[in-house]
Subunit: 334 residues, 2 copies
């Protein structure tokens, strides 16, 4: 614990004494204000670092009218999507300069309203709203104007700033990959027909596959079980596929299992792609899945930067993040 | 958005006017201070609710010397463990009254020190320290005294308050369950020999199984692959088991897969138990896994309550949370 020999925390007077400057100069140097020589500023900061000088963020907040705190409101209790987004946002908010107050609404409107009031009462500089779905949501209802960025789950209002994923683009990349491998009879097996991401991914794959697609995209639940069932349905229809582009990793894992259990090799007989790059599924699959990394961390970084831009009075545009293909053994062999 | 017709946020003068009381009375009613009739207090609160009056948490914080904010420092970037603990802690901190500043250290000591300084500078009322492992960690290093509770990952210092999981107890429950089903030749397949939770779980199972255990507990990685390998090792040793108690759900899923692939039914021939109750693994397993729910949410609630007790000057004891067995088809059939 960095402190002087008396055991008490360092004060600004200690910093000034060690740097050999006045208290006013030390304060200006630490707050990056005033007209000082670079060398002086650096000497004061060195002294503060040596003494473990903490300062008082509350005093700085009061004098600047900012709290250097943002709220992050999420409906994704499970955390599968929220944590990567949060990590990215933390990066953009320069880890510790601006801190994140996390509020999990658990899909409850009353709880959301309560949290939003509490965040506003705390004077947050802005709010990032996120969730587990790509389906748009109504704008949040706050009693005073506050900068807001929607991440992953966009706002239904076009005037809001939303950072979303390019689901169609990611699926198009996966489809182009299997075509490049010479596959010509491709099935598309996606998630629920009423989920925006499932529909976007199917449409993205179709845009690239054209008449290499056997039948219409198939929709079902986001599960391994649906992947296994889809293989049975394709077999019953004698689809004779040489590739399956799936809407997520769980479906793809089910497809791989059922193909193996019915005597076909992956990728020898059939190439399979997933979507999400969720380790516990994509890496445990036999074989490990070629899949699409959603780049949730990048989405979080952009959301954080957009929020800072809004706070500073700028007008950032809504953005769609481009995912990236991760190639593994389910398409290219071991 | 609740506000008056002028479009500006409601002020305490508006609340006082609507309730027909003085500003001083309105303030006392809203802050639950002073000597007021219950009826008056209720009328003021109704008026505040109607007008969407938010108040200023910062003013309250300054007058009380508290910020109604706690820090949660985690090393678990992935969020698998942190989010349930956080949700539990939020419950205990009465959702929005005390809010959580989340700081993810990503296992980086420099980043941890930086976050801790920032949390202290913000005047947090206390800090919850958590992570992904049950292995003890050194106490955090803060420049001023602040109440701290360790959750899941205990402190190495016995004078700190740590809330941990009873891993041995959970595994003992799973072992007692397979004995109650009449199984008599039981293998224990756990995680890495240098992970405290893997060793505790193996020891807990052994304490119940006694000479019903075939050979020593087997240690390997926390993966499906290790589960499959363990079945092969048991077969090579002609262990002829009728139950396998596993150290986590991934291992148990691998055990189920390998047993099925080598012609044995689960649970008909061999009963299998997991540990963690991690949906994406336990429910996707064929069959779904009987497993141990760690009750991370309860651990989070206890951590939150213990922190509030510390903040209030109390001396809460360290606690071990009792997990609970979840029975599914891997032990009792469909």
């Amino acid at each position: 614990m960095p402190q002087d020999r008396s055991g008490r925390p360092a004060r600004i007077t200690d910093v000034a004494a060690l740097a050999g400057v006045s208290i006013g100069t030390a304060s200006k140097a630490l707050n990056d204000t005033g007209q000082l020589r670079d060398e002086t500023r650096a000497r004061v900061k060195d002294a503060a670092e040596k003494l473990g000088f903490v300062g008082d963020a509350r005093a700085r907040a009061l004098s600047s009218g900012r709290t250097y705190t943002v709220g992050m409101v999420t409906t994704d209790s499970f955390g599968r999507f929220t944590m990567p987004v949060l990590l990215g946002a933390e990066d953009a908010l320069s880890a510790g300069e601006v801190m994140v107050l996390l509020a999990d609404t658990r899909d409850d409107h009353v709880r959301e309203a309560h949290y939003l009031r509490s965040l506003v009462a705390r004077g947050v500089d802005g709010i990032i709203v996120t969730g587990r779905s790509a389906d748009a949501r109504p704008p949040i209802d706050v009693p005073v104007p506050v900068p807001v960025v929607y991440a992953l789950t966009p706002s239904t209002s076009a005037s809001d700033v939303s950072v979303t994923l390019d689901d169609a683009g990611g699926a198009a990349d996966a489809a182009a990959h299997v075509l490049a491998l010479g596959r010509r009879r491709v099935a598309v097996v996606s998630g629920p027909a009423d989920a925006r991401s499932a529909v976007s991914r199917a449409a993205g794959a179709r845009s690239v596959l054209g008449d290499r697609m056997v039948g219409e995209p198939m929709h079902g639940e986001w599960s391994e079980r649906w992947g296994r069932q889809a293989v049975d349905l394709l077999d019953r229809a004698q689809a004779d596929v040489d590739a399956v582009v799936c809407g997520n990793d769980q479906i793809a894992r089910g497809v791989c299992d059922r193909l193996r259990e019915t005597g076909r090799s992956v990728p020898g007989d059939v190439a399979v792609t997933g979507y999400d790059d969720w380790d516990v599924v994509a890496l445990a699959s036999r074989p490990p899945l070629t899949t699409v990394d959603m780049r949730l961390d990048e989405l979080g970084r952009i959301a954080g930067r957009s929020l800072l831009e809004l706070v500073a009075g700028g007008r950032p545009a809504s953005v769609s993040v481009t995912p990236s293909l991760v190639v593994r053994e389910s398409t290219v062999g071991a």
